[in-house]
Symmetry: C2
Subunit: 387 residues, 2 copies
């Protein structure tokens, strides 16, 4: 928020972007290379790789790393990694290139993002990846559907990033891991909790953030702004709602609002681990894992995304997950509480489904102030009606 | 609360009480020994030693332990210990006994509590202990005043406990460390936060407990019921207020109410460490340290009792302190918050001094429901007027 931005919002601490001189040469080289047009997901992944958000990865997974990530949630070096970051290609393109060859990764309009050295090309079992990563083979699951539609060959190898994607909204709040760490250091925060969201922050989420903030120095409010499902509230409306919330209800010097450029995979438990590992890269020491984190439909148990953390030690993860149960306003408690802190009946609890919240917002019906801060509700209603 | 009590509330896991057969012999021996009449503080200390609340201590400090505790907050074996648990005697009594001799420790009415083997008797510098332990030499400090009035010689050595003190109110809620651990294990609590208090639990304290409880399995509400200052609200009234609070506002299966039989020393930071170490013995994994913990008057800085924990690693303490700032109800936040979580002005905050709270309660004026649960306020007003 007060961070000074250098060119393109990327400062010199960012490891994966090449210096200008090299960049010119690379661009010339790339124009002569075979080009692969990236999907929105892969474009997000290139940005994550470029800015160091998915360290230790420096490219798309090669065969052995892919296999071990899918089956064991680890890289071949033993480090925890839960989501296969892969570059799928159709068979025709894959057949046309040789192992060891360099290729250019581009956006649909031809904008060259990176050069990849193809170390390996390999087939893979999509049903198996679906089962292991998403816990289902059903193509109604949006992550599985995307997987089934993507190319049948995976290209593995390191990438050299020439340019960041063209479409990077929220530049003022699009800090790289190096920049968020710099900000945290300047603020003197020793402990920072990260909060992932793809939704508006209602009072129950504010409560989780503030519960954590009572015990740590700072909060990184880190909304995901890559590709999400159509029914989710658009990122620009959400960003406005976050700003009005922070301006009115949070101490300015305890919170950093920045966006997380990843796309949603809806991989539930595995994505919770992924989200935590990425936030460690952004400088967080703690990460909030709520109910059904990164879930969709009824594919995951409510607390599966918390239980998965039991498989790893703190030393392996390097970030402390903070697990919370379902929270809600209780009329008798006169406060936001959870089943761990409230003894009262459901009849005393103010709970709306996501569907009902969206219905009210679209109908322009305000949500109760115990559920959503009035300023936030106003921004959401206006944002949805301005569309 | 549901724990089965054996004789005198002490179950067989309690290490420092002797079996009945030995007890008879010990009692006969004790009747022939020189007797020292204990102060209320020392009577509390004997109970703490008897039930294992001050493990690893098994008696009153000998010279080298005393010296190192006073100067470095450690026992001679290197373990952290912040408060000198000593048995003061007047010089006349001390001169009348020999090193190696056994003596009987009694209550003022002659009730024999324990036999002590006097391993050492030694003089000590009261001003130095005052300075190091209480941070002041002023005899207006209640802990320092008590220190100055006590005997000039310290008797060190292990004790064998024959009987617990006669005056042990709240037997239903006077669980030993073995009993609280048993309860926690039966409940399946892996993480338990301990809350020390010598005051009623107002909503700001309830908030701290519930913030912690959102992240751990259980809460040990552990009010201190040993000697406190005359102005503090009497323990029996407080106990009633805790019970009505828990009955109305806490999930039954997440909280254990039990009393901590220690006396207050008002040693601030050092007593916070002591309180944490004792709660570890009771089975707690976490311990709440608020503002001015165990403080009195203006002798300690608001957060001194938190900062002192920086001197020790988790491995040394074996319990995680949870540090909180001043919390209060904010009209704009419509919630209990702290300066870490609320950006609004003091004018929006509902804050009463302890003096004002006591004045209102004594005058029968109810406290706002945002400050104190109405049921709790009612019990406190009735309790103070029934006296």
């Amino acid at each position: 928020m007060e961070v000074q931005h250098s060119r393109n919002g990327i400062d010199s601490l960012t490891v994966r972007l090449m210096p200008t001189v090299q960049r010119e040469a690379a661009l010339q080289e790339a124009q002569r290379l075979p080009q692969i047009v990236l999907s929105p997901l892969s474009i997000s992944d290139v940005e994550l790789l470029a800015i160091g958000a998915v360290a230790p990865l420096t490219g798309f997974l090669t065969h052995d790393d892919y296999e071990r990530v899918v089956s064991e949630m680890r890289l071949t070096n033993g480090q925890v990694w839960s989501i296969p970051l892969t570059l799928p290609a159709d068979r025709e393109f894959a057949d046309s290139i040789k192992v060891g060859q360099r290729i250019a990764l581009t956006e649909p309009d031809g904008h060259i993002l990176a050069i990849m050295t193809v170390q390996e090309k390999f087939g893979y079992d999509k049903q198996r990846e679906a089962r292991e990563v998403f816990g289902t083979e059903e193509d109604k699951h949006p992550g599985v559907a995307r997987l089934y539609k993507q190319g049948d060959v995976l290209l593995g190898g390191p990438i050299e990033v020439i340019d960041l994607p063209s479409n990077r909204p929220f530049m003022e709040n699009r800090l790289t891991p190096a920049e968020t760490k710099q900000y945290m250091a300047a603020k003197g925060w020793k402990t920072v909790v990260g909060f992932q969201t793809r939704n508006p922050v209602h009072r129950s989420h504010e409560y989780l953030q503030k519960v954590a903030l009572e015990m740590v120095d700072g909060l990184l409010l880190h909304p995901l702004v890559g590709e999400t499902q159509a029914e989710d509230i658009p990122a620009d409306v959400r960003m406005k709602s976050y700003k009005v919330l922070l301006d009115n209800y949070y101490p300015r010097d305890r919170v950093l609002l920045s966006v997380f450029p990843a796309a949603m995979r809806y991989a539930g438990p595995r994505e919770a681990i992924f989200h935590a590992l990425c936030r460690k890269n952004y400088g967080c020491t703690h990460f909030i894992v709520g109910r059904d984190h990164a879930g969709v439909g009824n594919y995951y148990g409510t607390y599966d995304a918390q239980r998965i953390f039991d498989n790893f030690t703190y030393a392996e993860l390097g970030i402390t997950p903070l697990m919370f149960e379902h929270t809600f306003f209780c009329m008798k408690c006169e406060a936001i509480v959870s089943s761990k802190t409230c003894p009262h009946d459901k009849a005393d609890h103010l709970v709306f489904s996501g569907t009902e919240v969206r219905r009210r917002l679209r109908a322009g019906e305000p949500l109760p102030h115990e559920f959503t801060r009035p300023e936030v509700g106003q921004v959401l209603i206006e944002g949805l009606h301005g569309k």
